[in-house]
Amino acid sequence: MMRPFRSFYLTLIYLFLYIPIGTLIVYSFNNATFSMLWHGFTLNWYRAVLQDSSLWLAVWHSFYLALAATTSALFIGTLAAISLYRYQFRGKNMLQGLLFVIIITPDIVMGIALLILFSLSGLALGFWSLYIAHVTFCIPFVVVIVYSRAKSIDPNIFAAASDLGASELQTFWHIIVPILLPALISGALLCFALSFDDIVISYFVSGPGFEILPIKIFGLARMGVNVELNALCSLLFGLTLILVCLSQWVTRKKKL
């Protein structure tokens, strides 16, 4: 039984977390441009969002950037996690240290470090600079997630597989990958969300020719509150909700 004070306190904090988003969603349906009074239900702002082609271009850019970055980070990170788990090699500690440092480095430091590197090497800011940056900050998260799942594998399985004549590649495809599948899925979802939402690093390494959604929203928000943006943000929040529920459902099913 929860004591009343405790549930009261929890409710208060949750209200603090949800009221801003809740307000945003409610007022995205309000039939008025500036007023906070209720002027009736409308879907006009959503219609405006759907018809804004520059917005959709930014969404499309963000989407395929996140997809590309997730795929690459998943590939590199998973292979690394498996090697870290199975083999002893020189520089293993250094590699783990490097991964740790990248996770905790403030985003802004990574953003400008990459900006300097790209400008000195002559790489134009655009899709590729964003892609490299996103893969770099996603890799450590994949390694951490996949590695912690890999640790639960019984090492005897590998001995059994090689006794039965499986090659290393067969072991990889038929044993390791299926066991790691839940970790791969949650790693992919996390990477996608990180990449799709990132603003600090992207702000420094994006160029005018390739606009992505967070930067676009940041630019619009700088000009002030507007109802169309309310609708867009509500849509994004709804999308997030669906993705999180999906990932919960996937992990829960795997546990059974």
Partner: protein, 283 residues
């Protein structure tokens, strides 16, 4: 075959991280020692000027202000987050998971979206003012948006979970029998809290504070959206040096300083958690 797989996967990640992690960081450090030149990125000429600049009164003021705001935000997150983490760590396991999911749900959406939501809540004709006015608590709208208070609220809103999670993880592993032992020995609840629970959750507290303090100095977009026009945070200073003033070496020096602050925080954390491990070994 084993070796091929291993060489390929280890080589791939090592190459990637060495180029885009390590090398880019080293280039930034080198850049911080180069001379500023308005026509080029920098002049190939060693100088300590950029670090001396950081002690210039104008920049120094921004540091102090940024430190002050980060400190207040961290303190507020700790005061709000600790009881929250404590309460959920004592819930039954099923409820714990739901509580955590509810906590993290808003944080899966972009921080710009969340900051924008805060912006529309705090504006002069926003919900907060409308509600306070209609309740008769105030007689004219409060000017919160575009003040330092708004920046602090925005930072707390964005960073609270980073305080709660490490403390929760720490408290969740907490051995409940220690509390019972203290009770048996006649300790009052406040004494138990002060002498048993708080000291044992120090690693979580330090971890949470590090995770909140650093971003609180650097999340420039929050102060861009919620604060006034002035550069307020260390992050705004860096942003300005790169995108407006075009003084990359100075921006690089500021980032190096930030990294040093981070390293100090980590050392404290490492030291504290090592002490914790020794303590465990002692019992």
């Amino acid at each position: 075959m084993r070796n091929k797989f291993q060489y390929f996967s280890v080589g791939l990640i090592t190459t990637w991280l060495c180029i885009f992690g390590l090398l880019s960081f080293l280039v930034m450090v080198v850049m911080s020692f180069l001379q500023h030149d308005p026509d080029h990125i920098a002049l190939w000429h060693f100088t300590l000027q950029n670090y001396e600049d950081l002690f210039d009164p104008i920049f120094f003021k921004i540091f102090i202000k940024s430190f002050y705001i980060a400190f207040m935000v961290t303190a507020a997150c700790l005061l709000l987050g600790y009881p929250f983490a404590y309460i959920i760590s004592r819930l039954p396991e099923r409820l714990q998971n739901t509580a955590l999911l509810l906590l993290l749900l808003p944080f899966w959406t972009s921080s710009v979206v969340r900051t924008y939501a805060m912006m529309s809540l705090l504006k002069t004709k926003g919900l907060l003012n409308t509600a306070l006015l209609s309740l008769g608590l105030i007689h004219e709208p409060l000017q919160i948006l575009f003040t330092n208070t708004a920046v602090a609220i925005g930072l707390i809103y964005n960073l609270l979970p980073f305080m709660i999670l490490p403390i929760y993880v720490n408290l969740e592993r907490f051995d409940i029998s220690l509390i019972e032992a203290a009770k048996d020995l006649g300790a009052k609840y406040t004494t138990i809290f002060r002498k048993v629970i708080i000291p044992l959750s120090i690693p979580g507290i330090v971890g949470g504070c590090t995770l909140v303090f650093l971003p609180a100095m650097t999340l420039f977009f929050i102060s861009d959206l919620l604060g006034g026009a002035k550069a307020l945070l260390l992050g705004n200073l860096i942003e300005d040096q790169f995108l407006m003033a075009n003084n990359w070496p100075r921006g690089a020096a500021t980032s190096v300083l930030l990294t040093v602050i981070m390293a100090i925080g980590l050392l404290i954390y490492w030291f504290k958690s090592n002490k914790r491990i020794n303590y465990d070994a002692a019992i």
